[in-house]
C-alpha cells in the first residue's frame, strides 16, 4: 500500500482521510431534483451540507441548460445528469435507484429552488424512526407561505382525500420535502411515476398500497420567486382534476412490493 510502483492506474490515492470516509459512505443521501436552478442550487447544496454534515448530496440534473450540474458539483454535490428531461418523478427515481445501488438507507428529497428550509432536516430524519415516509408539511404550523384562495382549498381537499387513503392526518400532500426510510426507498426505487403530480400524490397512494407508514412534520418554507403556475379558479379546477387522476392511477395501477418485505398488495 505504501508504494504504488509504476502502475498506470491509480487504485488508491494516498490516505488523507477523505478516501476512508468515502469507502464507508454515510447512510443518508439527500437527493435534489433540479431543472435549471443554477441561481439557487449551490446555496441549497451548501445549506444541506451545513445542516446535515454527515449526509451525501446527490443532485439529479434533469437536463438543465444553464450549468446547474457544474455549479452543484463545485458546491460539493455528486451530480447525476439525465440525458433528457424526465420530470421530478424520473429524477427522484434516479435518486432512489442510486441510493439502493450505493447502499444508502435513508433518502431525503429537497427541492433545488431553495424553498425547503434545510434546518428542518434533522427533524425529518428523527421522525423516520416511527414512519417509513415523513412529509415536511407547510400548513401544519404557521408560516408565511402564500397561495391563492382557490388553490388553497383544492390543496385542503386533496389533503383530506389522501389522509383518508393513507390513514394518517396529512395537511400538505403536494410537498416535495420528504424523508424516506429503507423500506420506502426500496419501494420507490422500483415504483415511482414520472407523470405530473405522480411524484407527490400518487407516491403517497403507492406508499399506502405497499404497506408503508406515513407521518408529517411541520416545516416553514421559503417563498419562491417563480411561483406555482395557475392560481385562479379555472387553473385550480384543472389542477384538481389532474390531481384526482393521479390519485386514481395510484389506486388502480399494479405496484410491485420488493421481495424482501411482506407488505400489503
Amino acid at each position: 500500500m505504501t508504494d504504488a510502483g509504476a502502475s498506470a492506474i491509480v487504485v488508491a490515492p494516498h490516505a488523507d482521510g477523505r478516501r476512508v470516509a468515502e469507502t464507508a459512505p454515510p447512510r443518508v443521501l439527500v437527493v435534489v431534483p433540479a431543472l435549471n436552478e443554477a441561481g439557487s442550487i449551490a446555496g441549497v447544496v451548501a445549506a444541506v451540507l451545513r445542516d446535515l454534515p454527515t449526509a451525501r448530496v446527490l443532485v439529479v440534473d434533469d437536463s438543465s441548460t444553464d450549468g446547474t450540474g457544474r455549479r452543484a458539483r463545485l458546491a460539493g454535490a455528486t451530480v447525476a445528469r439525465l440525458p433528457y428531461r424526465l420530470g421530478v418523478g424520473g429524477a427522484m427515481r434516479t435518486g432512489y435507484r442510486y441510493a439502493v445501488t450505493h447502499g444508502y438507507d435513508v433518502v431525503v428529497q429537497v427541492d433545488g429552488d431553495g424553498q425547503h428550509d434545510t434546518r428542518h432536516l434533522p427533524e425529518l430524519l428523527a421522525a423516520l424512526g416511527a414512519a417509513d415516509l415523513v412529509i415536511g408539511a407547510r400548513f401544519a404550523g404557521t408560516d408565511p407561505y402564500a397561495v391563492g384562495r382557490a388553490r388553497r382549498s383544492v390543496m385542503r381537499l386533496l389533503a383530506v382525500v389522501l389522509s383518508r387513503i393513507v390513514g394518517t392526518r396529512l395537511t400538505d400532500v403536494t410537498s416535495g420535502y420528504r424523508a424516506l426510510g429503507p423500506r420506502a426507498v426500496r419501494v420507490f426505487a422500483e415504483n415511482y411515476p414520472a407523470e405530473y403530480l405522480g411524484d407527490t400524490l400518487e407516491a403517497l397512494v403507492i406508499a399506502r398500497r405497499c404497506g408503508l407508514t406515513v407521518a408529517q412534520v411541520p416545516v416553514r418554507m421559503n417563498a419562491r420567486e417563480h411561483g406555482r403556475p395557475s392560481q385562479g379558479v379555472i387553473g385550480s379546477v384543472l389542477y384538481l382534476s389532474r390531481a384526482l387522476a393521479a390519485i386514481l392511477l395510484g389506486l388502480v395501477r399494479r405496484w410491485s412490493v420488493p421481495a424482501t418485505e411482506e407488505g400489503a398488495g
Binding site: 492506474i9 491509480v10 490515492p13 446527490l58 439529479v60 440534473d61 457544474r70 458539483r73 455528486t78 451530480v79 447525476a80 445528469r81 439525465l82 440525458p83 433528457y84 424526465l86 424520473g90 427515481r93 434516479t94 435507484r97 442510486y98 445501488t101 414520472a194
Partner: protein, 132 residues
C-alpha cells in the same frame, strides 16, 4: 360480366396484401401483429376476388348490409391495432426511462472516477479537458 367496382376492389386488395407482406418482411411489424397484418391482406384479396363471399359471410353473421360487415370489422381491426400500439409505446417509454436513469447514475460514477484519477495525476500533468 364483372361490375366496374370489381377491378378497383381487386387492385386495392392486392395493394393491401403487398403492403402487409412488405411490412412483415422488413420487420416493421413483429409477432402477433405481423400475423394480423398478413391475415388482413389475405382477406382483402379473397373478398375482392369473390365478392359473393362477403354476401355469404354477412348472411351467416346476420348482418343485413354486407358493406356494414366490412366497415365494422375494419373499425374493430384498427381499434385492436391502436391498442396494441399504445401498449407498445408505454412499454418502450418505461424502458427508455429506465435506461435514462441508468445512464445518469453511470455518468455520476464515471465523473467520480475521473475526479479520483485527475487528483492522482495532478502532480504529473495538468488536468485534461474533462468537461463535456
Amino acid at each position: 360480366m364483372r361490375p366496374d367496382g370489381y377491378w378497383l376492389g381487386l387492385v386495392g386488395g392486392v395493394l393491401v396484401l403487398g403492403l402487409s407482406v412488405e411490412l412483415v418482411r422488413r420487420r416493421y411489424v413483429r409477432g402477433r401483429l405481423a400475423l394480423a397484418w398478413v391475415v388482413l391482406g389475405f382477406l382483402s384479396v379473397v373478398f375482392a376476388l369473390f365478392p359473393q363471399a362477403l354476401g355469404w359471410a354477412a348472411r351467416t353473421l346476420n348482418v343485413q348490409v354486407p358493406l356494414n360487415l366490412v366497415l365494422f370489422s375494419g373499425v374493430l381491426f384498427l381499434l385492436v391495432i391502436s391498442m396494441q400500439l399504445a401498449n407498445e409505446v408505454g412499454r418502450l417509454e418505461s424502458r427508455t426511462r429506465r435506461l435514462a436513469e441508468e445512464v445518469a447514475i453511470l455518468g455520476s460514477r464515471l465523473s467520480a472516477l475521473g475526479e479520483t484519477t485527475a487528483a492522482a495525476d495532478e502532480a504529473e500533468r495538468p488536468p485534461s479537458s474533462r468537461d463535456q
